[in-house]
Amino acid sequence: MTPQNLTRSLYPLVGIVVILALWQLYTWLSGISPLVLPSPMEIGSVSIKRHDLLLQQTWPTFIETVLGFALALLIGVPLAVLVANSRLFNLVLYPILVATQSIPKVAIAPIILVWFGLGISSKLALAFLVAFFPIVVDTAAGLQATPPGLLELAHALCASRRQVFFKVQMPAALPFIFAGSKVAITLAVIGAVIGEFVGSMAGLGNLVLAANSQLDGPLAWAALVWLSALGILLFAAIALVEWLMMPWERASQH
């Protein structure tokens, strides 16, 4: 990390510290009930003290998110390939995709619950539904943005469609697929939590609701902290895979 980078990442850190300090000061001075607004220190200490419970509840949310995201990738990428390579699929599928995307996911969550039950699969389905769209759209955009010069080069060398796809289009689309995946994974966390809110027996979203109903404000907030940590961690994991899979991107930066 260069000194410049270091100072750049220091700025938001300073901002966070200031906000937390003001928050802490406010809870002290106002004497507000911890159910309404617990202090950052209290949230912090609960986040650590009750890590057994929190970790246990993170697991189902993690599984729902990751499986939902993986499914979105598994179905979304091939679908994007069809949309990008076939005029028919582009004309038929794309409007349908956009139309389904306009349905608010929160609104269909209860229906999904009826279909898939209270267990993990309904959350997985919701995570899938929200993660799916950015993956399809970005992958299709990436495939269609393959530089025409590279396609002509492959064509001039008598490359087969298969070779063009795997050796030219796919690598060219990779940065787009990762951009979509980063959006998708954070959305997948939200999808899983929506599912847990509507009806569940476990998970961090479930814990937020349960703590709230037991008037345990600090625990509800601690669950929130863990939830955002989960989101950041998953995002970082995608960024790491991207870093590993695209060495040429790092090579060009220096």
Partner: protein, 281 residues
């Protein structure tokens, strides 16, 4: 720098088994035949756009012919027809005894832009054609490495294109076009995007490579001096729709050295080309 005037004895390294033919003693049989090539682009809701009216010339084996013409006259279109990338409207395009109707695996192509794949290293970019054609064996790797060293890029095999200058990228593109030992090398303003100095270096490099591989070359250019310096023959295209305005035989001996650019014969040939282009009278 690579010295194109260096004597080439039998002890010279062979380019991965390619026959080394000096252009002077190669047999001059017709390798390519272009007869009344005509191209009109269909335009929806409009009359077709005639890009090439009629173009006729022969291409001799081992020769280097330049297609010289004003911007938009149909040079790229003609080259793409010769490469089998787009269909002609009428006429004959025959190369190596066969009608060209689709891309040919034994052609090499250099585009106006390097067109390198950013995700492949230099060596992997050069190996792309042999990989597509399914013979990326050890010999091909060795050939690629030899070509890279020939263009002065030894040590950059594992760099990525983004780490190279424009001129270096175009040299990689040149290696890529040669790695599968093509019978015909088609080049579309390969040095057009380069600065004058790099451009002249690349021209000497091209002559050197041509001498070592004996490849037949067809090169599109805007530049009169480039056309004269490189070519055995210059086919001058008229403004669109293209016709052949003149075919100029350049009888300057190879190997050519940069000094040749200042010889009176050179200037005379340049003048003839510029007359054919309608620039001077």
């Amino acid at each position: 720098m690579i010295d194109s005037t260096a004597p080439r004895g039998p002890e010279q390294p062979r380019l991965g088994g390619a026959t080394i033919v000096s252009p002077a003693d190669s047999p001059r049989r017709a390798f390519g035949r272009f007869e009344n090539v005509h191209k009109a682009f269909k335009r929806p809701g409009q009359t077709p756009l005639t890009a090439i009216e009629t173009v006729t010339f022969d291409l001799q084996s081992g020769q280097l012919i330049s297609l010289l013409g004003p911007s938009g006259c149909g040079k790229t279109t003609f080259l793409r027809i010769a490469a089998g990338l787009i269909p002609k409207t009428s006429g004959i395009v025959e190369i190596n005894g066969a009608e060209v109707e689709r891309p040919q695996p034994d052609f090499g192509m250099v585009f106006q832009q390097p067109n390198l794949m950013p995700w492949r290293t230099v060596l992997k970019n050069v190996l792309f054609p042999v990989e597509i054609q399914g013979d990326a064996d050890g010999r091909a790797v060795q050939r690629a490495a030899e070509l890279l060293s020939l263009v002065g890029l030894s040590g950059f095999e594992h760099s990525y294109p983004a780490q190279l200058s424009g001129g270096m990228q175009q040299r990689v593109a040149l290696c890529r076009a040669l790695v599968h030992q093509p019978k015909l090398l088609l080049m579309d303003e390969p040095f057009g995007a380069l600065d004058e100095l790099t451009r002249m270096e690349m021209q000497d490099l091209l002559l050197d490579i041509r001498a070592k591989t004996g490849a037949t070359l067809m090169l599109v250019t805007h530049s009169i001096s480039e056309a004269v310096y490189l070519s055995d023959r210059v086919a001058v295209f008229s403004p669109r729709p293209a016709r052949i305005a003149d075919v100029i035989a350049v009888d300057l001996p190879y190997p050519r050295r940069p000094e040749a650019r200042y010889a009176p014969e050179f200037t005379e040939l340049e003048h003839r080309a510029s007359r054919a282009l309608g620039i001077t009278r």
